[in-house]
Symmetry: C2
Subunit: 154 residues, 2 copies
DNA sequence: GATGAAAGTTTCGTCCT
DNA sequence: AGGACGAAACTTTCATC
């Protein structure tokens, strides 16, 4: 499970791509002082082994009218398999939820919810409160992003 | 600030790219039933206007030995401009912090911290506790990801 | 906004060290 | 393992409708 399978060359490729996901193989190769052939072989291997899970464009939420990010702590009524599965399925269906983890501490889940405004948030809260397995939620509104989607420390 | 500047074609381009950041212009055009020329013009405009902030590879944290994600609530001793600026500069320097927001509620900041293991977490905690402006922290360990880095609801 | 052609890149198979 | 070469495919850019 650790990174023993990855040498420093692999890590350089991954680091380059997590900073600019549209780099071509030639550009990566140049950046890490390797010729394109072995660089492409490594890249394909990293993709096939799902070390690279995919690529995505980072969009500016504010510019898109999604001005409100809310972190929501959720406590369930019961931790039966049905409750857990039902809640998680519901969360996966909700497009406003962009991240969701089970967490240690007093809450069961921590969700990151993205909506346009307070009205959108109200609509979403009503949805989640209609889930019978939800006991309690606590919302913390993001006021300002200090650091967003930074690269992983490789 | 709202999305009045973006028509449904723009949104389709953005949605395609947030799901697959390596799509070529030709592929996007095909996917949204537009010819490549106007599609590329729109894409470049969206990049120049920073609606698209960048592109990144999504990496599998576990495969890279970064098995531990922790959400940390931080309270500052004071909210003077110096304290705030100092704390935020420190957070931006710390590679383990991949996300940081100021939030409403009892805490001042919510951080997402990525480390290899408990030892790495301990090292990071010591760093943050050495900052004089930090009054108190509360850590919630992510036990399992239910949804990670999902596309924005466009 | 669509089409088509030219120029430039990228990818990828193959072979060699 | 890394490096080199060439063919095929693709992308971008441009002119034109």
């Amino acid at each position: 499970m650790s990174q023993e399978k990855f040498d420093s060359t692999d890590l350089k490729i991954l680091d380059a791509l997590q900073r600019d996901g549209r780099l071509s193989n030639v550009d990566i190769a140049e950046q890490i002082n390797l010729s394109p052939s072995p660089c492409l072989r490594r890249l394909r291997r990293l993709e096939e082994e799902a070390v690279i899970e995919g690529y995505k464009a980072r969009l500016n939420r504010n510019r898109l009218g999604l001005a409100m990010t809310v972190f929501v702590q959720v406590k369930l009524r019961s931790h039966s398999a049905d409750s857990v599965a039902g809640f998680e399925a519901a969360v996966q269906q909700m497009e406003a939820v962009v991240n969701a983890h089970t967490v240690s501490g007093s809450a069961d889940y921590l969700l990151e919810v993205v909506v346009a405004d307070l009205e959108g948030y109200d609509l979403w809260v009503r949805q989640i409160q209609q889930l019978s397995m939800v006991r309690e939620i606590e919302s913390n509104f993001a006021l300002r992003a200090v650091k967003a989607d930074a690269p992983l420390p490789l």
